[in-house]
């Protein structure tokens, strides 16, 4: 970015220091090998609008958001919000540069100045006001649970189930929460939900750059969890998982966090759940970035699928596990509409369908929503299911 159009620029130490202060310290490490750019999902999309390897150098030169030209700045904002936080680059970086953190520090400055996409502003507002990105009423958060007769969490219970905002409100995604509740019922564990006392985990808005709102939201969750006597939290969304597990401790929130995939696989191994009714389908599993690369959980979802009789598990050659391609919904991108031809989900769906799968299995509500919408737009009738749903189907029928 030029300070002005078409002029030689100067190094801007002020911007550099501000970015470093906000977490872009890794920018100094980078040796510009560019490996990140070709593992970046945007490489597969086929654009070179977003050359991720340039950000560290632009950071140390202090060129980020330095332009005084409005159009330039607008273009740059658009660019900075392309990062979906999938961490494919972090996974492959020879030096371990945390690129999304560099991007996040830039976004924090944009948020501070109010120069960020309108859609995201609205999401941040909604989370601040009602604790969820959909703008739904706080009181409605436990509506799904009353249908499934889920108890409210009480001190002394073994487990608090945190369903994530999307499965709590979205009619389609509520089925994931219900399946999870159904499975917990069969396991016989004593659990409950916090309902109206829950707010969004805050992961997405933190990655959007809204650090202050994230902190407020997170602190309110931590306080409510503590007040209720929660020690163990079961989550459906890997986004809640990484946030509770890796980020809440910085704010003093130390809880025992477990993802539904790990929990249910444990239950299968110990004989508490036995998948039985045959599921004669070819299923391809999509590794959600946040569950796979970012949490290292690759085996549990696969093991669950493999334990279901008749199910044939397929893999996307070259692009599974840590090399999985992002659905395109991370770091706030769920609320940004990319032009046709610029959507990662289109490419990922093609990879998934090319395996010959009859069902696409995921373990993240974001991925599920992205894929269903994409398939609908494509007019392809292949169901996308959360693994909890598949597992529940295979066990429920035997009961």
């Amino acid at each position: 970015m030029a300070n002005k159009k078409n002029v030689v620029v100067e190094i801007n130490p002020e911007i550099r220091e501000a970015l470093v202060e906000m977490g872009a310290i890794d920018a100094y490490k980078c040796y510009q090998c560019g490996k990140c750019a070709s593992v970046c999902p945007w490489f597969q999309v086929g654009t070179y609008e977003f050359l991720v390897f340039r950000f560290p150098l632009e950071t140390v030169l202090g060129l980020i958001a330095s332009s005084e030209d409005k159009d330039d700045l607008a273009k740059e904002v658009e660019k900075l919000y392309r990062c979906v936080g999938c961490e494919a680059c972090v996974d492959q970086c020879p030096l371990g540069v945390k690129m999304p953190q560099i991007l996040r520090s830039a976004r924090r400055i944009l948020v501070d100045f109010g120069s960020y996409p309108e859609n995201l502003k609205s999401v941040v507002q909604k989370i601040r006001n009602v604790g969820n990105p959909l703008g739904e009423l706080r009181e409605g958060r436990s509506d799904w649970a009353s249908k499934a007769a889920v108890k409210s969490f009480e001190p002394g219970m073994d487990l608090m189930y945190f369903a994530c905002c999307l499965p709590s409100y979205d009619r389609r995604l509520q089925n994931i929460a219900m399946a999870t509740a159904g499975l917990l019922e069969i396991v016989g564990v004593d659990y409950g939900i916090l309902g109206v006392k829950e707010s969004c985990c805050g992961e997405a808005i933190r990655r959007v750059g809204a650090e202050k709102v994230y902190e407020e939201t997170a602190r309110s969750n931590i306080e409510n969890f503590r007040e209720a006597g929660v020690s163990k939290v079961l989550v459906t969304s890997p986004h809640c998982y990484v946030t509770f597990k890796k980020e809440y401790p910085d704010l003093g929130g130390e809880f025992d966090v477990i993802h539904a995939m790990e929990y249910f696989w444990d239950c299968i191994e110990s004989g508490k759940l036995t998948p039985k009714s045959s599921f004669q389908k070819k299923v391809v599993y999509h590794d959600p970035c946040t569950l796979g690369r970012q949490s290292g959980i690759y085996e549990a979802p696969r093991n669950i699928l493999k334990s279901i009789p008749g199910l044939e598990l397929l893999e996307v050659e070259d692009f599974s596990r840590n090399l999985s391609l992002c659905c395109g919904a991370g770091s706030g991108a769920l609320w940004i509409d990319w032009e046709k031809g610029e959507r990662m989900a289109d490419i990922r769906i093609k990879q998934l369908l090319d395996t010959g799968a009859e069902i696409i299995a995921v373990a993240c509500p974001y991925c599920l929503q992205m894929f269903e919408e994409t398939l609908k737009a494509m007019g392809v009738d292949v169901p996308v299911m959360d693994i909890s749903e598949i597992l529940y189907d295979s066990i429920r029928e035997q009961q």
Binding site: Y31, Q32, C33, G34, K35, C36, A37, S38, V39, F43, G46, Y48, L51, F53, R54, Q92, C93, P94, L95, G96, G271, T274, K276, D318, L323
Partner: protein, 1110 residues
């Protein structure tokens, strides 16, 4: 009382800035014992030293303290100075007021106070210092060079050419190292072998060099000047004096292994010479250990051996080898449960080698029984009860040892359960007969139709030993209602009757209860007897089903249904005739003691199925009714014979037992194994030898060398009889492999264990050089200095997953490309793709693979890669002028004479394309590959199609460097590169005296640097050898004999083994030549008997007191 002089140095402004020198001098001058105190700007300078010398004489000083920098810098300087004027150098001490004081204190007052304390403490120390004389150590002027690569060769030649003896130890069979693998060398493009081979020959012919190839250092003792080294000469199984490298053995050997010299791009035989120019020019047999297949076989059959011979088309030899361990080739080739295939290393990469089918093939290939000489007959006779597989095996192995073996069989025919329990469509009678005839050909006498009474009677009847192998023929019952209905059969009885020719009639609807092979056999037999609908009822699921997968599959193909998770609870029907069977549905609970999940009934889940015939096959127990009720032979509570696990002997000496009579129903191969083991015991029993000695079963080897890329070549499948023809027909279902299939299948073997001891090489070696019984040997040598030149290896390709290494054949490493370029390589120097032998038209060379990647791999730069991939690109362009070479790199580092020019030549003359950026992926695209990268200079994402990818892998020290460092007690860095004493001033010496470093063992470097460093190391050795004696630091430890209680704590503590025990006086003594004065023993000694000279306890406590202001 000593007269002490203190000399304080300003060190320019280094000390004087923070330390108030004036008050320091004033204060110290007053201190008791200090006769003189003086300061100077640079005490280490000539004028400074003059001051010390003059004052020493003038004031008759007899101890000196210099307060200045660290003693590491100038202790020697000042000690020499006082020595010149006649004072013992050990009467000088340095007080470090620079590094430990002025440099680390900002405040002058504090620093001055600390300086005063440091100097006072040092004065206290020097008060008690003795005048010490250095010890003289004689030097053994012979050198040991470890590693026979270019660095080791150069160092050895330099030392030897100076007239000193050199011991050169190389772990592989030839000297030459990696340089011998290279084609040309940068930047001059000399032929690597051409410049190296003369040196290799020089080494082997040099009068002063003793060459130990295929040898490794086992142990090192002693210290500088006098090392004692134990060298293990590994067994090469070829007499190195007799072998003349004629290569006749090579084609005879059937075992194909990975060729390390071609970096895995080709194969070599188990008997091999690394390359034609190898020095010495002799063959070596590669025996790696017991392969997993053989270790898994209960009878220890030489599986890899007969597989290798079969792959070589030596089918008769293969069968002969198999029969050395198991006479039932034809039987086991059909019905063995093949534990060998389960453990086959290949099964981790797809399907196991089809070992059983190969065994069947070699037995089917036999047209007539082979002739063989009978052994010298022994006079003892052994009786065997039961002519099943166990009894016949025992008889066979006894007969091969010369004993008279007589087998008594109650039935009119021999074969036991093989005959009565296994249907003909799986094991035709003539094939069983083939094995029995073979056993009889060794003189085994089988008496059928003879039931034996008390086995002890046999001992009285002139037999010297007895083996009981009467099998398990008593059927288990379900114990449920209606089991006595007409139409309910039991598996073994059912099969026996059919197998012995009875025309049994079955109903239209047959159910078989059970999940073992007998259940499947019974079901398939029922089908052939005319049943319309056959269902197997099994209480667990498919995963837990013990029957063979192949058999289950064949049964299902024939239309047999399997109902899992069900168990019968009653039979029903009218007038005692079966009509239906009621079952319960089961579910799987937690695993039981067998590890399988326990079936639990689901209450209320009863269901009925209509049946006309049921065959119950749920197991058998031994039938020991022939034993007298009061037999002396101990039995188990469930009615089997108890034997010793190892010897197979029963409670009665001379009576042995095995097979199902001991185990209950088990597999054929275990029955055979028991017979074989019992034969060994009986042989020893009759010879009066220890039956238990060395009977442990060998463990499977680990560290299996895999092919470079494991191709998923599928296993050969035998043809089978069409399903439609099977009903009503008892002909064999499997038709076996063809000869072509057998050869292909055998070559899928990884040859894990190397040499299979088939002795084919022995048959062709005219010089009788093969010695299979050779053992490794340890020789001891004494040397004075050691050069470590153990070289490097490349970072393993398998660790670089994102570039498809180990997955795609055409992704190779630099050394492999070197072999493709080499005239002695697998393609004779033509650039060909490993996958299809085509000439690649575009090659991607990727730099920094594994290097400069601290996050996932190695943090350091491997230094040589930029240059060698430039060389590769250039040579490729010369060989394939219309080809395109693309180098992907982050930086190009060309620091070296003519290196930049070489790089420019590649760019300008050969138009090699350099792209800046590290690729992220290499994937398959069509028949080629595609590299994903970003050109960071234009900012363009690129997908570069190419035909081949060459990875410049990082350089690692050789794998055993760290273990070697421990043996030698010298230091390495975190990666295993040997540490030099000083990175700038002592780059070829180790910190431990007597050790010198050369080549890539120290850090990655190219050939010119390795050679230079080797010569440098040699010159340091020669410097040492220029003296007859070395002087040792006299600050060693002394033992106070009065106080020493000989507790030996110091002996275990001492890292230099500088301790000896004086048994007579019961005290510990110090070997002063070995003691390095480290002081570990001083700390360890509980009585204070160990004291270091000039650092005794009194000195230390005085210093501490002064510093604490006491």
């Amino acid at each position: 009382m000593k007269r002490i002089g203190v000399f304080i140095c300003h060190c320019g402004r280094n000390i004087s800035t923070n330390v108030d020198i004036e008050s320091l001098v004033r204060e110290i001058a007053k201190y008791p014992g200090v006769e003189h105190c003086e300061d100077y700007t640079y005490m280490c300078s000539d004028p400074g030293q003059v001051i010390i010398k003059e004052k020493l004489k003038e004031k008759s000083l007899d101890a000196i303290v210099v307060a200045s920098c660290s003693p590491l810098l100038h202790e020697i300087t000042f000690r020499r100075a006082i020595e010149e004027v006649g004072l013992n150098p050990h009467l000088l001490e340095m007080a470090n007021i620079r590094e430990q004081c002025s440099w680390i204190h900002a405040e002058s007052e504090e620093a001055t106070k600390k300086a005063i304390e440091i100097i006072k403490a040092t004065v206290e120390k020097v008060k008690y210092n003795d005048a010490l004389e250095p010890a003289k150590i004689p030097v053994n002027r012979r050198a040991l060079v470890l590693g026979g690569g270019i660095a080791g060769i150069q160092a050895a030649l330099d030392i030897a050419n100076s007239g000193y003896e050199v011991i050169l130890v190389e772990k592989t069979p030839s000297v030459g190292g990696h340089m011998a693998q290279l084609s040309e060398t940068f930047p001059t493009l000399d032929c690597s072998q051409c410049i190296l081979t003369p040196k290799m020959v020089d080494v082997s012919h040099h009068q002063k060099i003793r060459l130990y190839t295929y040898s490794e250092v086992e142990e090192l003792a002693g210290s500088v000047g006098n090392f004692r080294v134990k060298i293990r000469k590994k067994a090469s199984y070829v007499d190195r004096k007799k072998c003349n490298g004629c290569a006749d053995c090579e084609p005879a050997c059937p075992v194909m292994m990975v060729n390390e010299f071609d970096a895995g791009l080709s194969g070599r035989k188990a008997i091999y010479r690394p390359f034609p120019q190898a020095v010495p020019n002799v063959y070596t047999i590669d025996k790696k250990g017991v392969p997993p297949c053989r270790a898994a076989c209960p009878a220890g059959v030489n599986v890899q051996g007969y597989v290798a011979l079969a792959g070589h088309g030596k089918f008769e030899e293969a069968l002969a080898l198999e029969r050395e361990d198991n006479p039932f080739a034809s039987v086991c080739g059909r019905v063995c449960t093949h534990p060998c295939e389960t453990d086959c290393k290949r099964s981790e990469y797809g399907d196991a080698v089809s070992i059983r089918a190969l065994k069947r093939f070699i037995s089917d290939y036999e047209k007539q029984l082979p002739e063989h000489e009978l052994p010298e007959p022994k006079k003892q006779k052994v009786a065997i009860v039961g002519a099943g597989p166990s009894g016949l095996s025992c008889a066979y192995f006894l007969a091969r040892r010369g004993y008279k073996a007589v087998v008594f069989e109650a039935l009119p025919v021999a074969g036991g359960m093989l005959l009565t329990g296994i249907p003909e469509f799986r094991l035709p009678r003539n094939n069983l007969q083939q094995d029995i005839e073979y056993i009889k050909s060794w003189g085994v006498d089988i008496k059928t139709g003879q039931k034996i009474g008390d086995p002890l009677g046999l001992l009285k009847d002139g037999f010297d030993a007895v083996y009981l192998s009467s099998g398990a023929h008593v059927e288990k019952k379900l114990g449920i209602g209606g089991e006595d209905s007409k139409g309910v059969f039991y598996g073994i009885d059912f099969l026996r009757r059919v197998n012995l020719g009875e025309k049994l009639e079955v109903g239209e609807r047959v159910a078989v209860v059970g999940g073992g092979n007998s259940a499947i056999d019974a079901a398939r037999t029922a089908l052939r007897l005319g049943a319309k609908e056959v269902t197997i009822i099994y209480r667990r699921s498919l995963t837990e089903m013990p029957a063979d997968r192949d058999e289950i599959e064949e049964a299902m193909k024939e239309g047999i249904k399997i109902r899992f998770l069900a168990t019968p609870v009653s039979f029903g029907g009218e007038a005692g005739t079966l009509a239906e069977m009621t079952c319960l549905q089961m579910r799987l609970g937690l695993p039981d003691e067998s590890g399988r999940r326990r079936p639990e009934p689901i209450p209320g889940s009863e269901f009925a199925i209509g049946v006309d015939t049921v065959v119950v096959t749920i197991g058998q127990a031994p039938d020991l009714s022939y034993l007298p009720p009061d037999t002396e032979i101990s039995l188990s509570t469930w009615g089997s014979i108890l034997v010793d696990d190892t010897t197979k002997q029963t409670s009665v000496p001379g009576i042995f037992a095995g097979g199902d009579a001991v185990r209950g129903p088990d597999t054929v191969i275990w029955a055979i194994a028991d017979g074989k083991e019992a034969a060994v015991s009986i042989d020893r029993y009759l010879a009066g030898e220890d039956m238990k000695l060395n009977r442990t079963k060998p463990e499977a080897m680990k560290d299996i060398v895999l092919p470079r890329v494991v191709k998923d070549n599928l296993r050969q499948v035998a043809r089978t009889m069409p399903v439609a023809e099977r009903v009503g027909c008892f002909s064999e279902v499997s038709l076996g492999l063809t000869a072509e299939q057998a050869k292909v299948e055998a070559l899928r073997c990884f040859a894990c264990g190397g040499c299979v001891e088939c002795h084919e090489c022995e048959k062709v070696c005219e010089r009788d050089a093969i010695v299979h019984g050779m053992r490794s040997e340890v020789v001891e040598e004494e040397v004075g200095a050691i050069v470590v030149a153990t070289g490097f290896e490349l970072y393993p390709l398998s660790k670089i997953r994102e570039y498809g290494a180990g997955k795609y054949e055409d992704v190779i490493d630099g050394l492999q490309f070197e072999r493709l370029l080499s005239a002695s390589g697998p393609t004779g120097g033509e650039i060909r793709r490993p996958s299809d032998n085509s000439v690649p038209k575009r090659i991607a060379f990727i730099s920094c693979v594994g290097s400069r990647e601290p996050e996932h791999h190695l943090p350091y730069c491997s230094k040589i890669c930029c240059m060698y991939n430039t060389k590769h690109a250039l040579l490729y362009k010369e060989r394939v002028p219309d080809g395109e070479a693309i180098v992907f790199s982050i930086d190009i580092r060309t620091a070296g004479k003519n290196y930049e020019e070489f790089f420019m030549r590649a760019k300008e003359d050969e138009n090699v394309l350099y792209l800046r950026g590290k690729p992220s992926r290499v994937m398959k695209e069509g028949s080629g590959l595609v590299v994903w990268t970003t050109d960071t200079l234009t900012g363009r994402p690129l997908k570069v199609k190419c035909d081949m990818v060459v990875l410049s892998m990082a350089v690692l020290p050789s794998a055993d460097a760290i273990a070697l460092a421990k043996k030698l007690r010298i230091q390495t860095n975190g990666h295993g590169f040997f540490n030099e004493a000083h990175p700038k001033l002592r780059p070829v010496e180790s910190l431990v005296p007597g050790f010198f470093l050369a080549g890539c063992a120290q850090t990655p470097k190219d050939i010119p640097e390795s050679v230079a460093q080797a010569s440098a190391a040699a010159s340091k050795v020669l410097e040492m050898f220029s003296k007859r004696e070395l002087t040792a630091e006299p600050m060693v430890v002394v033992i106070d004999e009065e106080m020493c209680s000989c507790c030996r704590l110091c002996v275990v503590t001492c890292p230099y083994e500088a301790r000896e025990i004086d048994e007579e006086k019961n005290i510990v003594r110090i070997n002063e030549a070995l003691c390095m004065g480290c002081g570990c023993c001083v700390a360890a000694c509980p009585s204070g008997a160990s004291q270091q000279k000039n650092l005794v306890e009194e000195q230390i406590s005085r210093m501490v007191e002064v510093i604490l202001g006491q």
